[in-house]
Amino acid sequence: MSRRKLAAIVALAAVAAAVLVIVRIWRDPAPAAAPAPGGGPSVLAARAGGGAARPGAAAGALPADPTELVAYLRGRFGKHIASRYVQMQMIEKLMRHFQGKSPDGWQAELLAVVRAAFPERYDEIAAMLGHRLDYEAWLGANEGRLRGLGERERREAMWEARKRLFGDAAEEIWASERKGQAVTDALAAIEGLPNATVGDRLAQYKESLVETHQENAETYLQDHRQEVLSRFLALDSVQRELGALPPAERSQALRDVRKGLGLDDAALGRWDTLDTERDRRWAVGQEYMAARAALGTRYAGAELETHLQELRSRYFGAEAATIADEEAGGFFRFAGPRKYGLN
């Protein structure tokens, strides 16, 4: 028998033995959490446990039918496996699976399947698993301290830990959080601009969106136009200026904001209709509040309530009962602030 043939046979025997071991583990897994009483699904979640994995850690037995599992991982994650965010998604999926199946030996099994699926990325992904576990341990150890910090200080402390543990990969893994935070920070800065018009604020907002999302800014806006629009209009500074404008100019200013954020003519038309309807609602609401106050000076108790019921029906029709319920709970919707473009 040639040396090459011998090596091949030994290799195949080793694979077969490994598969047999795996089949045994698969068929007789470590006890999982008990099914929920009443025939519900088995307990699903398990937070990470155990020590941190390290690059080059011994890879344990593969699960049963590893070919299927490896194919699944390649199909689901292979196209973007170079992304550290995608690597993290895969790691957490595998953690969840293997921690439930083998609470004591999950890391070795996880690493074995990673090695089989992405051998060229094995060291990188194994290191990522280690960082992920270290980060979780750090969060657990610092949970009380973090809760005691202000929002900004907490954020800084978490980023310091992420950078220390994950290095440059932290920015890639938490890229979405960074972008969301950038928009939040931009809005806070825009809110604080002295002597700026709505147009000035909008220009800076659009600039910050492009800066944050760069070549994907248009797609981002397309998917999130309403979030982007409503968060801008919610700024006190924007509301102050809109509130100070005469109705026609306010209407135009709102249209300019919406158009500036990419709404098409059809959407602008729908908004014109809604703005008009909201103006009408508020006008009716103010009249109602005045009439209500007048009734309060003439009646009390059950008699007042009888008159109020009639008043609400006259002013609000189908919504009268809802408004009565709100008032019973102490909420008077027309006593609150008008927020242009929002309510």
């Binding site: 490994a18 519900g40 590893p66 194919a71 199909g75 965010y85 999926k93 939040t184 006190d236 319920d325």
Partner: protein, 370 residues
């Protein structure tokens, strides 16, 4: 030798099946999905940290760009979704109206005629009010599917516990509400009003107002005029897997006994139903008991390791159409209770809960019925 074995295995796997996209994801819903957050809300003003994975990627973001990775690959590339924003600390009367207004705006921008609403925690109460307001304003059923997650439809004992501690504690709640809410949101937070909302009965007979879930459920019921279909996902967890803050709450302050049955709040703990005498079990998610959470159909979440997770309807327990008088089984059954705490199902990490797949399964479920 072991290394050689793995190499051969890897080689054979790669020969057998090449790289490519995984199986089909969730179907696109007919109407957009609007997400309604719970009390407090989110730090990131866009809300993607709340309705996202642990890394801030929004669960409703479709992968609609070439080489895009920060998206939910398990949903349809044309899926439409929106993150609503309401007053962080307020009653559901206030927040539900905020939500209705926000939905109206979204509909104008998107050109939608109807929507689906998904609410977490107090957001699950807000969606009921919004559904009614939208129906009354439009004259038709605007909301197709109304789905709550971990929502205290029959109150939370924790809210009453906090309020019962008196002025010192309630002033702290208000301070926190104002501080955290006002940082990034408009003023108008009222933490005490928000807490009173989550107590089953009217909290005070002398404050001149009617508060609590009992009255709210009468005013904003499960009603097919307001939403075509109501359904709920129910969470409970016990032990060290619980979020540390919730674990601390349950071990040091108050551990809910939330899986007993009676009409109304017969044990005066602040929530409908009563306990069964055993607190340290999977009968609450840290903030809400099992007996408070079912609205309409109870949904079953099935996690599948290597295919899309699924959500289906538990038909055995029936439709909880009367929120103040559910059946005994609807209040006490542990069937299809998801073993997660109150915060696991949103983007509070790190945990290994797969938010992307969980919400993809919700999209799929909605697409089946909307």
């Amino acid at each position: 030798m072991k290394k050689l074995g793995y190499t051969l295995l890897a080689l054979s796997a790669s020969l057998a099946i090449g790289d490519g996209d995984a199986g089909a994801g969730a179907a696109r819903t007919t109407y957009p999905v609007v997400f309604a957050h719970g009390m407090a809300g989110f730090n990131n003003i866009l809300g993607y940290d709340y309705w996202g994975d642990d890394y801030g990627t929004f669960v409703g973001d479709p992968c609609d760009e070439l080489f895009e990775v920060y998206c939910n690959g398990d949903i349809d590339s044309g899926q439409k979704a929106y993150v609503a924003q309401v007053q962080p600390f307020q009653t559901s009367e206030v927040r539900g109206l905020d939500l209705a207004n926000d939905v109206e705006g979204f509909m104008a921008t998107a050109g939608a005629t109807r929507v689906n609403l998904v609410g977490h925690s107090q957001g699950g109460l807000d969606i009921r009010k919004a559904a009614r307001v939208l129906y009354e304003r439009r004259g038709y059923t605007v909301v197709s599917q109304a789905i709550s997650i971990s929502s205290p439809h029959r109150g939370s004992p924790v809210a009453k516990y906090i309020l019962d501690l008196g002025p010192g504690v309630t002033s702290v709640i208000n301070a926190l509400a104002s501080y955290f809410g006002d940082i990034i949101y408009q003023s108008g937070n009222d933490g005490v009003a928000g807490a009173k909302q989550l107590v089953y009965n009217d909290f005070s007979a002398t404050d001149g107002v009617t508060t609590g879930m009992r009255a709210f459920n009468t005013q904003y019921p499960v009603d097919s005029r307001y939403a075509t279909r109501y359904a709920s996902l129910i969470t409970a967890q016990d032990g060290l897997s619980v979020n540390p803050a919730l674990y601390l709450l349950s071990k040091v302050f108050y551990d809910i006994d939330g899986d007993g049955y009676c009409l109304d709040d017969c044990d005066n703990d602040g929530a409908g139903g009563r306990g069964d005498g055993a607190r340290s079990e999977n009968d609450d998610d840290g903030l809400v008991g099992v007996n408070s959470q079912q609205m309409g159909y109870r949904l079953k979440y099935s996690e599948n390791a290597f295919s899309l997770d699924t959500i289906s309807t538990n038909t055995t327990l029936g439709y909880a159409s009367s929120l103040n008088a559910p059946t005994s089984a609807q209040m006490t059954s542990a069937s299809d209770v998801i073993n997660q705490d109150h915060m696991d199902v949103i983007g509070v990490g790190p945990d290994t809960f797969d938010e992307m797949e969980f919400y993809a399964a919700i999209f799929q479920y909605i697409a089946t019925y909307d």
